[in-house]
Amino acid sequence: MTAVAQSPAARVVAFLGSMKLSVWLLLLLAALTWLGTLAQVERSTYDVQREYFESWFVVAELPLSFWGKALVERADGTPWPLRIPLPGAYPVMALFCVNLIVGGLLRMKWSWRNSGILVTHLGIVLLLVAGAVKLHASYAGMLAVYENPAAEGQRLAGRQYESSTFTSFHDHELALLVDRGDAIEERVVPERALWAARGDGAVTLRAEGLPFTVEVRHFVDHASVVPKGPMVQTRMPVVDGAFVRAEKWPVGVQPKSEAEIPACYVTVRSDAGDRFEAILSGDPRVPKDRSRYPFAFTVRGQRYGLDLRHVVHDLPFAVRLDKFQKLDHPGTMSPRDFRSFVTVVDGAGSQEAQIFMNNPLRRDGYVVYQTNWGPQPAGGPPWYSVFEVSWNPSDIWPAIACIVIWIGLFLHFGKKLLGFLDSSARASLNQ
């Protein structure tokens, strides 16, 4: 080694590209993966994913148990966990990606000797980038449609047989609906914009060209709207005899964020001085007909509505369910195959397709998967089919990365094995 003085910048680059850094980052990621796996025994995969793998920082918990028995028991019989503060997988993977590009691609000698490693590293970078694109740019939701009856007249009101929208599983939005007579105009604010109204905060919304403001207060992520009886104490405001109660998942029940219903208070103040107050809930359904009823109000003779709902995404095509088919293994209730025969309709015309397990419909950058069906458990017509729709620009990048990595590893280890078989090293070991 030569003792050449390095500039600070060169030292930073050397550190960022060093192999020792890779080893430590890989070990850190392995520790996070392991702890994140164990954490799923008590918490939902979705929550663990956000806490451990999509966060900047996590206090990981290691349940101390040996041979299935807790070393120190908590009151509920579960093992006492060791708490370990760690960086989240997100910054670790970001730094790892930098480390890989700097050390594994840029600073590495581009020679035939290193060709396999370089190709492999390229594939891994593609995989990591695909993950980042998926995390930041993709969205998904569900689309549920009933089997289309043979005759137009057999369609039932309130049932969807064809849809060109899908609704998010987790994310909510506040929609302002403007009744234009023959159409409803919508303006939406994402849930994120309302988070400032949690606790004692408030968010005031004003839309261009509309004669009122909407103030949002007491936004609660997981809530129910309950009547205020004489014996009920609450610090929340009471509107129309009801108030918003924050809900907690009971002990021993796995929290499911997709089952959480947010709620908030809104005050509409018109420029003319009118004032309307209401509670908005993520599930404003009337129990009997199961229809949604947004909060409606009238300003200057124009009807408006406010709806706190799962985010609705538009599709550039509509999906109509022509037929749903479920086959069981003979004599059992376990499904062998369930598939939807659909017609996809867009401006250019219509096209028939089948969607079933391991065979999604890919179109215009969207992927439509068969995820569920009903009515369950008995089944039988009228069937409905539930699809998951996702928009992911990096949809096929992992498949490409897999091929690239395979070629790289095959090249590298193949060369090494052949080299070893030929070498004197083998001969000397085989004396």
Partner: protein, 675 residues
């Protein structure tokens, strides 16, 4: 390698095996009183009837498979063994006779001699407290466990059900060992109970009273239900004529008969024994006997089904073995012909052969032979003959195992791995193969020993798992897994990664043993060869694990629209990749040398166990498809063995970072002798 060390090791292994064998030879449980079946089932008939096709849990399988999986589930053993003590006259000492029944013979007894079968010592009770709780007398924990017959246990069925329901309500973490055993015992009792009840309608004859009723059945005074099915139309007309006056004495005991029939037609549990006569495309579900009775009584009688049921009933009620075998053979021929006409006969015959031929068992024994020869090759002065003999035995065993797995693929119509059970055979085979190739490249006899050890060990585990799990290992798959492309591409690739990870860990353990037991100096060519080998196998494991893991993501993306979901099984696979990538980079950058590499590889072996099994036992996620407490014990035993090697290796590396050169190492035998 020092022969004396190997000889001592070998002596200890032999002693251990002898001790294990001695502990297995416990006295079989006793069965008091005379047996109904006085002669054994003819061997050729047992083989024939084992191939009887029937439909159970979604697929057509042979009788022998149903018998075996049911016996594993309720008995936890591959056979039923007992000493029968006949009733003796006063003053005589009865001579007990030892019986050993195969699953097929046992199920034949359950069908044909239910009274005898319910006295078989079947349900294993490991905890004396369970016996006490159920109110049974016992003479303390003498043999570790007891067997209870169905006849005794069912008398306490209600009590057991109450206890099981109470245990079920408790959260998993709060259940005691007794709770777990009660739950398991109740499930086992239910399985047997259904089996016991299945032929209730066929196992008896009905008395016919009244001339008009007898006239329907050609004047017979007794009636078998199959006979009733054959005369279904005449009987329906008779019942129609009786109308609401069926209790009138002029219709004889028609009321009793109708009551009996309604019971017989509604019991729907158990396997479906009657193949539909329409082609498979039109009707894929077989009929149970009660269903056929029900159809006959509704006017949709099927003469062929009535004939089949008749032969079966003749077999069940026959007076002697010859008549019984004749009737059951006739029933078998009729069903087999109908199944063959539907195209369902071939795989059943093949499956019956598969379980009889038991190729993976022969593979295991051949591996054991290969292992013993390899040990001899290590101990005795180097002999090329022994090396070749062991190599040949191990390759032969791999060939047998491949044949076994290949037959499974033909039967199921799927690639080699569809269930957890398959992974044992596959990983055992690939692990052995990897080590054999490593031995071929670096002839040090260590991989020659490890390869058959690995193969035999995993086949042994497969057999333990098969019995402990008590489930059909070829059960049909759920819709999401029914993609032969992905099953053939992702699953084997991933499992090759696991197998190579296991093989690398074994080689690393050998490296640690060489160092800790002073078999040779860490700088010797033996230790260096092992290090090279562990490195090479790790590279192979890494390449397949990485590709397998990403392929899994690509499959998930096609099934659910997400490439990666941080599901436990996915995480387990990723952990193997991360650990191995980190290891190769640590080696490259000089962070670890041979010792660190060996320790790290052993730890990676622990991660393979975590990924392969432990993730399934966490009870979460999409891959949670197997649970049994035996498996969890196996996982912890594996962790402990790997942990032991890790700690021993680590301690030795800390205490003797730089061992003395070869010639100053004290003679290995002197160390062992404690000098």
């Amino acid at each position: 390698m020092s022969p004396s060390v190997m000889q001592r090791l070998l002596a200890n292994v032999v002693l251990l095996v002898l001790a294990l064998l001695a502990s297995c030879g416990r006295q079989p449980p006793r069965l008091q009183g005379d047996l109904e079946r006085t002669e054994p089932w003819p061997a050729d008939f047992v083989e024939r009837f084992g191939a009887l096709p029937l439909q159970h849990e979604g697929r057509v399988m042979p009788f022998s498979t149903l018998a075996a999986t049911t016996l594993y589930a309720v008995h936890g053993r591959r056979d039923v063994q007992f000493d029968a003590v006949p009733t003796a006259a006063a003053g005589e000492i009865p001579a007990p006779r030892t019986f050993k029944l195969s699953p097929t013979e046992w199920l034949l007894d359950v069908w044909c001699f239910p009274g005898q079968a319910e006295r078989y010592p079947l349900f294993r009770i490991e905890n004396v407290s369970v016996l006490e709780t159920l109110g049974f007398q016992h003479d303390g924990q003498t043999q570790g466990f007891e067997y209870l017959p169905y006849g005794q246990l069912v008398a306490q069925g209600q009590k057991l059900q109450d206890l099981a329901q109470a245990a079920e309500k408790k959260p998993q973490a709060q259940r005691s060992a007794v709770d777990e055993q009660v739950l398991q015992l109740f499930r086992q009792l239910l399985v047997y109970h259904r089996l016991h009840q299945q032929h209730a309608a066929l196992q008896s004859e009905m008395k016919l009273d009244g001339d008009s009723l007898r006239a329907v059945f050609d004047g017979a005074s007794t009636l078998r239900i199959a006979g009733l099915m054959q005369k279904a139309e005449a009987f329906r007309a008779y019942v129609k004529d009786a109308g609401e006056k069926f209790e009138d004495p002029k219709y004889g005991n028609l009321a009793d008969l109708l009551l009996f029939l309604s019971d017989a037609a509604t019991a729907r549990s158990g396997p479906s024994l009657l193949p539909p006569l329409r082609p498979r495309e039109q009707e894929d579900t077989w009929h149970t006997v009660p269903e056929a009775i029900d159809r006959a009584m509704r006017g949709a009688a099927d003469p062929q089904h009535a004939a089949m049921a008749g032969r079966l009933q003749d077999g069940l009620l026959a007076k002697d073995m010859k008549e019984r075998v004749g009737s059951l053979d006739a029933y078998l021929r009729a069903v087999a012909a109908a199944a063959a006409a539907r195209g369902e006969g071939e795989t059943v015959a093949l499956e019956s052969y598969y379980y009889r031929a038991n190729w993976h068992f022969h593979a295991m024994m051949t591996f054991v032979a290969g292992f013993l020869v390899a040990v001899a090759a290590c101990v005795l002065p180097r002999s090329g003959m022994l090396w070749w003999a062991s190599m040949a035995a191990s390759w032969l065993a791999v060939g047998l195992l491949v044949a076994d797995v290949w037959i499974r693929c033909v039967i199921t119509g799927h690639p080699p791995i569809t269930r957890l059970y398959d992974t044992f055979l596959f990983i055992g085979g690939v692990g052995a193969l990897t080590l054999l190739i490593a031995e071929w490249i670096l002839r040090r006899r260590v991989a020659l020993t490890l390869a058959p050890f690995c193969g035999a060990l995993f086949i042994f585990f497969a057999r333990l798992f098969e019995v402990a799990d008590g489930q059909d290992t070829m059960k049909p798959l759920q819709a999401v897994l029914l993609s032969n492309f992905w099953l053939g591409v992702h699953v084997p690739t991933m499992n090759i990664g696991y197998a190579a990870g296991v093989a690398a860990a074994l080689v690393a353990m050998a490296w640690i043993a060489v160092r800790v037991l002073r078999i040779d100096h860490p700088d010797s060519s033996l230790a260096k060869s092992l290090y090279r080998m562990a490195y090479g196998v790790t590279c192979f494991s890494l390449a397949t694990s990485v590709v397998g893991t990403i392929l899994g993501g690509v499959w998930a993306n096609d099934s659910w629209g997400r490439f990666w979901g941080w599901d436990p099984k996915e995480n387990g696979a990723l952990l193997i990749c991360l650990a191995q990538i980190a290891l190769l980079h640590a080696r490259m950058s000089g962070m670890v040398r041979d010792g660190g590499f060996a320790l790290w590889t052993v730890a990676t072996g622990g991660i393979v166990v975590f990924s392969w099994f432990h993730t399934n036992l966490l009870g979460v996620g999409l891959h949670a498809y197997g649970f049994s407490s035996e498996l969890l014990t196996g996982v912890w035993v594996s962790y402990s063995v790997l942990g032991l090697f890790f700690v021993a290796g680590y301690t030795d590396l800390m205490l003797r970072p730089k061992p003395a050169p070869v010639d100053k190492v004290p003679a290995a035998d002197a160390l062992v002798a404690g000098r």
